[in-house]
């Protein structure tokens, strides 16, 4: 009875009926279609965003630090985490001789470059105003001929002396308050009493009256007995990767020097992260202003409606003492007159720098842009905005492998950033240092280095962080000092000449080293860059095999795993997105199912009639499935198109702005520009079809059970 043609005719009939039924029950079709459409659009947009974030992350990690593969010692206690782990830096076993790793891996097919690395954190001394002022005065003492022949130099000397005397006074006032709560009976009570007496002596008129008799002895006393009591300044942490700097720059094309120069080959030196400098080395008031500016520009937040911004503004206003301390009396005078002009202040207030600063930092939504400009145009040129500058030699200290503190002096050659990741803390906090210095800090020194360290230690105790320009200033109540010092001219060139004295330590850190020295020694991990990144998994196996063959016990991980928690966050995003999609489609499934069941119940008689006049169950099943699948595919395709349009529009509108550091890294730039992925399209259509079939299945099964008797039921 069933000829081969039967199925063909029936298939045509089934499709025709299905389509007609869809068209006939428009409301139902539109509800179901709308849900499917939304779902498909969501999948397309969501997975496009995810793919874009994935791509951004890949680009961020590979281009800044990760490369394609990373190797580290397999015996390590922790896993490699390039951007830090939950509990600080991971504990890695050192690879004692990088040259062996390089030799073994560089010949693996598809390996382009092997870059040695050692990532760690250390303390950096950023000095304090007291030290700066002392150094200035010492320079003046040195150039001041006995008897004070040159009146200009003499005036400046006297001005700086007065400045320092005022600072001692402020310090004494500060510590007097601290003494109220200090335990003067404790173990170090005697030492504390002595310190207090020293401070008393340093602020006494007799001390300063007789200062000129033996200025060097006076300075010695201030440096040894008074300066250590000053509380401001101190240390900050720096996160760095010790590496073969030339190889690093060749391998990671995203890194660029924004200020200064690269470290010359064979020289020791550090390139500080620009972001790190902004965040930790910048004058705090300026940094707060920057934060507000960025929040207003990028996140469209408003000072008048945002409590956090208002708090930042108050913080900035509270940090103006730092600015005042930095300005010497003459610069302060200059700053006051410039500010008064810019702010339009006339009359008695125009010389009152604290008041002018207070006015400048009293920012609100209306005046912020103007005041921000005034700060950078008028005031900033007089200030040292960053506590470390290009050309400074900084002292880095870290606990080494043996538990002692290692300390090295390295010259700051410049500031770096990773292109596209300028605002990202994760990448931007990283500084680059030569491997020789890294090893010295890490505590696996070469024999030669051991000798150098001994020399360094011998030289320790002399702080020589240079401060060429910053001059401590004294304001507010010290009217006499200001009027006395106003006219004193400052010859910067002469000051600099005085500071630049030959130093034994600089010589040491200037001694060049060879490529061999760089290669033969301790590293913690190494980045591997591939010629063809698409063969990553295979190359990882090859690298593993090559390492084993060379007798190296190395763990080989891909960039994502090497990045630690950061890399896993993409996986987390993916789980979140897919869970959301799953929930949306489960809800859609229930709603569609419900609508279809209702529709089926309304059609019981029609279905019963078909069954009565000879339609088989599978015909009914097929008819209803065609309906739901067609609805799924058609509306799914429209939804995917809508999603694609949304992605396109989002891209045209400039993408999703990265409103914080983390997003900056994930987006690999200031905004996420989503790109439509073929995967997302395919996935969305597949999901939609599956949902269509699943949601239509139950009602179709229900319809299949409708008996032909239903057709006979009398009621319409």
């Amino acid at each position: 009875m069933t000829s081969p043609g039967t199925k063909w005719w029936q298939a045509g009939l089934v499709v025709r009926l299905g389509l007609r039924n869809l068209a006939a029950s428009r409301a139902k079709t539109l509800i179901i279609g709308g849900i499917i459409l939304l779902g498909a659009a969501l999948v397309v947009v969501g997975s496009s965003l995810l793919e874009s974030v994935d791509r951004g992350m890949r680009s961020s990690i590979q281009g800044s630090l990760g490369g394609h593969l990373q190797v580290y010692d397999a015996r390590s206690k922790d896993e490699l985490a390039l951007y830090g782990g939950m509990m600080g830096e991971p504990q890695l076993e050192p690879i004692e001789d990088f040259s062996k790793v390089k030799a073994a891996l560089v010949n693996v097919p598809n390996v382009a470059k092997v870059v040695p690395m050692g990532i760690d954190q250390a303390m950096v001394s950023i000095g304090n105003q007291f030290d700066v002022a002392l150094e200035r005065l010492r320079a003046d003492v040195r150039v001041r001929p006995a008897g004070g022949a040159d009146p200009a130099i003499e005036r400046r000397y006297q001005a700086r002396k007065a400045h320092l005397r005022r600072m001692v006074g402020i310090l004494r006032d500060d510590l007097a308050q601290a003494r109220q709560i200090a335990d003067l009976q404790g173990r170090d009570a005697a030492e504390r009493r002595r310190a207090w007496e020293d401070l008393g002596r340093a602020s006494s008129p007799e001390f300063w009256d007789h200062f000129d008799d033996d200025p060097l002895a006076g300075l010695e006393f201030l440096e040894n007995r008074v300066a250590p009591q000053a509380l401001d300044g101190g240390f900050t942490f720096v996160r760095y990767v010790g590496t073969d700097l030339d190889a690093f720059f060749r391998a990671f094309d995203r890194v660029q020097v924004v200020e200064g120069t690269r470290v010359p080959p064979g020289q020791r030196g550090i390139l500080l992260g620009k972001w790190y400098a902004e965040e930790w080395l910048k004058l705090r008031a300026a940094h707060k202003l920057d934060q507000i500016e960025r929040a207003r520009r990028v996140q469209r937040r408003r000072l008048d409606r945002d409590e956090e911004l208002a708090r930042w503004a108050r913080d900035a206003a509270g940090q103006t003492r730092e600015i005042q301390l930095q300005l010497d009396p003459i610069a302060a005078e200059d700053a006051a007159s410039r500010l008064a002009r810019a702010l339009g202040v006339t009359g008695p207030g125009e010389r009152d720098l604290p008041k002018l600063l207070a006015q400048l930092f009293a920012v609100n939504e209306a005046n912020f842009d103007r005041h921000y400009r005034i700060f950078y145009d008028t005031l900033a040129p007089l200030l040292q905005l960053y506590s470390i500058r290009v050309g400074d030699t900084i002292t880095i200290q870290a606990p080494n492998k043996t538990g002692y503190m290692s300390s090295v002096n390295v010259k700051v050659y410049g500031f770096i950033q990773f292109r596209g990741l300028e605002q990202s803390g994760l990448a931007g906090v990283m500084s680059l240092m030569d491997l020789i210095s890294f090893r010295a800090l890490y505590g696996y020194p070469t024999a030669e280095r051991t000798r150098e360290i001994r020399e360094l230690q011998a030289a320790a105790g002399v702080r020589d962080v240079s401060r060429e320009e910053a001059e401590a200033a004294l304001f507010g109540s010290a009217d006499g000092a200001v009027s006395e010092q106003r006219e004193a001219p400052i010859d910067d060139a002469q000051v600099l000449a005085g500071v630049r004295r030959p130093r034994e330590r600089e010589e040491l850190s200037d001694r060049p080293f060879t490529q061999e020295e760089t290669d033969r020694g301790v590293v913690l991990n190494a980045a591997i860059l591939l010629k063809d990144p698409s063969k990553l998994a295979r190359t990882a196996r090859d690298v593993d095999a090559a390492a084993k063959a060379a007798g190296l016990n190395l763990e080989v991980v891909d960039w994502q795993k090497a990045s630690g928690l950061i890399g896993q966050s993409v996986t987390l995003f993916r789980i979140v997105l897919y869970t959301a999609v799953l929930i949306v489609f489960l809800v859609a499934l229930v709603i569609i199912n419900n609508a279809m069941v209702m529709a089926t119940l309304q059609r019981v008689k029609e279905i019963g009639t078909m069954r009565a006049i000879g339609a088989q169950r599978r015909f009914v099943l097929a008819m209803l499935l065609v309906e739901s699948v067609t609805a799924g595919v058609v509306f799914g395709a429209i939804g995917a198109a809508v999603g694609a349009c949304a992605v396109w529009l989002l891209r045209r509108a400039g993408g999703i702005p990265a409103t914080n550091d983390q997003l900056y890294f994930f987006f690999s730039g200031p905004a996420l520009l989503p790109r439509l992925g073929t995967t997302s399209l395919a996935v969305s259509l597949a999901i939609v079809v599956v949902v269509g079939v699943l949601s239509g299945l139950y009602p179709a099964l229900l319809a299949m059970r409708v008996t032909p008797v239903e057709a006979m039921a009398a009621e319409e």
Partner: protein, 236 residues
């Protein structure tokens, strides 16, 4: 020769905890070419009897033999095939497929059967539309037709497969008496022309009068069968 043979059939429906005895032992033979009316009040079991004859339902006990096949022994699939190829249905509520045109509704059983070329299908459908006076409405949807027109479409649909037996359950119940009479006349004409056997149920005496035999049912039992003269059922 009997096209349908109902042998001592009972049919019990279970409605919740109670049992409804729709048929309590019915025996009946329908001869080929008959125009038979099943008469009785509502709830007497007319529809149940027709369902059993039409193979949309199976008896609780007893046998229903249609065209020589014992329906109690056939699978659901085979019963469907049997209905498709040998039986036509006309319903009280017309039961057309709302999304199909008149032509497509009539064509529908042929498509289910398969194996008919489009030319043949068109010829058959058009012939029936002509015979039922619906040629002008071929492209209309059921919703655009009157009740009488819809039932004509149903008649055409029932006949398009050239079944041996057409079952009509209260075909005139939803029509006014004149239209109902017209439908019965149409059925009678088809019965005469092609010799198709018709079994229809009704409780309308005027409609019964057109039949050549009336089987009376009450309380699930056949209470009598009267043969009517051909002339009495003739179309005037």
């Amino acid at each position: 020769m009997a096209i349908v043979s109902v042998e001592d059939v009972t049919r019990v429906y279970t409605l919740g905890k109670s049992e409804v005895h729709a048929l309590r032992g019915v025996s009946l033979e329908v001869q080929e070419g008959e125009f038979l009316s099943v008469a009785g009040p509502s709830g007497s079991g007319k529809t149940t009897l027709l369902n059993l004859i039409g193979c949309v339902d199976t008896p609780t006990t007893g046998r229903v033999v249609v065209g020589g096949d014992d329906t109690t022994r056939l699978s659901e699939r085979a019963l469907t095939e049997l209905r498709l190829h040998r039986i036509g249905f006309i319903f009280q509520t017309f039961n057309l497929v709302p999304v199909l045109t008149v032509f497509q509704n009539v064509e529908f059983p042929l498509l289910l059967q398969g194996g008919h070329g489009s030319k043949e299908r068109r010829a058959r459908v058009n012939a029936l539309l002509e015979a039922t006076g619906l040629s002008e409405h071929a492209r209309h949807r059921p919703s655009e037709l009157s009740g009488g027109q819809r039932q004509r479409v149903a008649v055409a649909r029932a006949l398009v497969t050239r079944p041996a037996l057409v079952l009509a359950d209260e075909p005139t119940a939803n029509l006014d008496s004149q239209t109902g009479a017209n439908i019965i006349d149409l059925m009678r004409e088809m019965n005469r022309r092609d010799g198709t056997t018709f079994v229809f149920s009704t409780h309308d005496a005027k409609v019964m009068a057109h039949a050549n035999a009336i089987v009376r049912i009450a309380d699930g039992r056949v209470v009598g069968r009267e043969e009517l003269s051909q002339a009495a059922g003739g179309v005037s």
